[in-house]
């Protein structure tokens, strides 16, 4: 079938046969001339123009600027055949040590596209996140860095597979810093002398919170919440390390110690869960988080010494 355009065959834009549908076009060639630019986008609503945007966006398919002297047509110069892993790292802006959040193995180009969450972030800080390709010998490439403000509004207990939350208005954390040492007051002095014995230096504390179930709009679910609270008690007593974090910026890698309680507050419907904990490491130390089973990034991708 042939559709005729505005003029007879031979005129501009005539002889238009049946429109064709084509998908999965993955083989592009360029030949027969000298080329400066190649640009492809999924965007099809704009007016025709030869202007090629500098910025990439979600619609950009490819963009080769041959004036750079390369054939790179992507937004990175990484090739799947040269990259073993892409790592997501973060650090608090202004500090040096990077914490490796996750790694993604790369086998084909499509592996470069992924999404994930970092659940062990701290509140009230500005982070720098970096995306870092590792070559086949596991040497890190350039750190492409983006800042982000990290804030949240509640108290969270985060485990390997679950997160529980209570608003800071209904929950709080009190802590004690534990150190070893003793002091004596010499007979000829007014002030004591302190003897620091050992390296022990960790926080312990207690958490008290309502821990209500929340719906998708983050509104409190209006029921007794038995199953939710039972789930939380099972979670707290599973023996696994967790991260405890508060909207004010405090955060710890913890172990819950015996024994959490679920107690009524004047009426049986209003109940608080209380538990004690000890700090067992640093939440931004890859080694501590690895051995706590909260981060599975292999040692070769850790930055901290």
């Amino acid at each position: 079938m042939v559709f005729y355009g505005t003029t007879f065959i031979g005129g501009l834009y005539t002889a238009q046969p049946t429109p064709t549908n084509a998908e999965n076009l993955t083989y592009l060639t360029l030949h027969g001339g000298k080329y400066s630019d190649l640009y492809g986008t999924k965007e099809v609503e704009s007016q025709p123009t030869l202007d090629i945007p500098d910025e990439w966006n979600w619609n950009t398919i490819m963009r080769a600027d041959f004036s750079t002297g390369t054939t790179v047509a992507g937004n990175v110069d990484w090739l799947a055949e040269n990259v073993s892993v892409v790592a997501i790292k973060r650090r608090i802006q202004g500090t040096f040590d990077w914490y490796t959040v996750a790694t993604y193995p790369i086998e084909v180009e499509e592996d470069f596209t992924f999404k994930g969450v970092d659940r062990f972030n701290q509140s009230n800080v500005t982070y720098e996140y970096a995306i870092v390709p590792y070559d086949l010998e596991n040497n890190p490439g350039v750190y492409s860095i983006i800042p982000v403000d990290s804030n949240f509004d509640a108290l969270f207990v985060v485990g390997a597979d679950a997160t529980y939350k209570t608003f800071h208005t209904s929950g709080n954390i009190d802590t004690t810093r534990n150190i070893t040492g003793n002091y004596n007051v010499p007979l000829n002095d007014r002030y004591p002398v302190f003897f620091h014995s050992g390296l022990m230096n960790f926080d312990s504390g207690s958490v008290d919170g309502a821990f209500y179930d929340l719906d998708e709009a983050c509104q409190m679910v209006e029921d007794v919440g038995y199953f939710y609270k039972k789930g939380l008690m099972d979670f707290l007593t599973d023996g696994n390390p967790k991260v405890l974090k508060h909207s004010d910026g405090r955060i710890w890698l913890i172990q819950v110690v015996p024994s959490p309680t679920d107690s009524a507050q004047n009426t049986y419907k209003i109940r608080n869960i209380t538990f004690n904990w000890i700090q067992t490491g640093e939440h931004d130390d890859n080694e501590d988080m690895y051995w706590a089973n909260l981060n599975d990034v292999e040692e070769i991708y850790w930055d901290r010494i």
Partner: protein, 352 residues
């Protein structure tokens, strides 16, 4: 009568001035004498006098003639008090004299510019008499020489390498310190390096969202890795890639699944029956391409051809007169809901 006590002595380089510290609990020291003997035959190889009350005896550089590695020497000191009373010789204190070791970074020099996010330090250690290195520590400092990271003590010195990761653009200092088996301290000193690599524009390929309610940071990548994977070498001239006799192929890293717009800019494209641009599926059954035909009157028409399985969907440009090789040719192609649009521009002016 008191006698001096010499502190324990690490190995010393005989090529450097060395201080031999001691204590003396007798009267005021007027002068001190030292004698250094070969422990194997007790032959005194050096003796000297220092006419001061100092409790550090200065052993000048090159005052010891060391000929055999591994020879242990012992040192003794005695002092003369102000009333010319001489103390006894101190107990012996053993020491090794060695040639000053070479200890430096072999792959990093001062002010080196490093175009990557890590620095791998390689140390060169050499000591003429084969005094072995026992331990080494690597340090990384910021531009104000505040310590950022250290390796900790490395006792395995068979491979003198260490890597610091996670460096961003800026000035850093690196340093290594070590100690030999007989206690000689080696130090590279501060070596300034400049990390300088281009951080690519990432705002368009890496996205972050702070999720306030769920207390987590969500990230998503839009990394597109598209490049030529073949073996051809291409020539570039004045900002153009020369593909007159060659074909550039992109066959992975992208997928045009439905709607798309393509812009191709070039020159030197007065050719007939040449496929300038093509985009197909992997079997080359479906897709579209741009070709041209030169007529007898030397006019050229470009055409877009789309394969639809039955016949071809063709869009022509108008005939173009007197196209020179230096003229800039641009194709604009749009595929929207299976309908194609095709425009040709000569020197950025649409051909109509």
């Amino acid at each position: 009568m008191s006698k001096p006590i010499i502190y324990s002595l690490d190995a010393m380089s005989y090529e450097e001035d060395n201080m031999i510290p001691f204590t003396y609990s007798g009267g005021i020291i007027k002068k001190s004498e030292i004698r250094i003997s070969n422990s194997s035959d007790n032959e005194v190889i050096y003796s000297g006098t220092q006419t001061s009350g100092s409790t550090q005896f200065l052993l000048p550089a090159d005052s010891i003639d060391v000929t055999t590695y591994g020879t242990q020497y012992y040192v003794q000191i005695r002092v003369t008090e102000n009333d010319n009373t001489k103390s006894s010789w101190s107990d012996t204190r053993f020491v090794y004299f060695i040639t000053t070791p070479t200890f430096r970074f072999s792959n990093i020099s001062e002010d080196e510019v490093i175009g990557q996010s890590y620095v791998e330090l390689q140390l060169l250690y050499y000591q003429l008499e084969s005094e072995q290195l026992q331990e080494v520590i690597y340090y990384l400092y910021d531009s104000s020489k505040t310590l950022l990271a250290s390796s900790g003590v490395n006792y395995d010195v068979s491979v003198l390498k260490y890597k610091f990761n996670g460096l961003t653009d800026g000035i850093y200092y690196v340093r290594a310190k070590g100690e030999t088996v007989h206690g000689y301290q080696v130090d590279t000193g501060y070596i300034k390096i400049n990390i300088d690599y281009i951080i690519p524009e990432t705002f368009s390929n890496f996205y972050l969202t702070n999720n306030y309610n769920s207390g987590q940071i969500e990230y998503e990548t839009n990394i597109i890795s598209v490049d030529y994977h073949g073996d051809d070498e291409f020539e570039y001239e004045d900002g153009y890639i020369n593909l007159i006799e060659k074909t550039l192929i992109y066959d992975r890293g992208y997928n045009v699944a439905d709607n798309c717009t393509f812009i191709i800019k070039g020159k030197d494209m007065y050719r007939s029956e040449v496929v300038f641009f093509s985009l197909h599926d992997s079997n080359k059954k479906f897709g579209f391409y741009i070709t041209a035909y030169i007529y007898d009157d030397d006019k050229i028409r470009y055409k877009l051809v789309a394969n639809n399985g039955l016949d071809n969907y063709i869009l022509y440009s108008p005939p173009i007169d007197e196209l020179e090789s230096s003229d800039l040719v641009a194709f604009w192609v749009r595929k929207k809901e299976s309908i194609y649009s095709f425009k040709v521009y000569i020197n950025e002016v649409e051909v109509v």
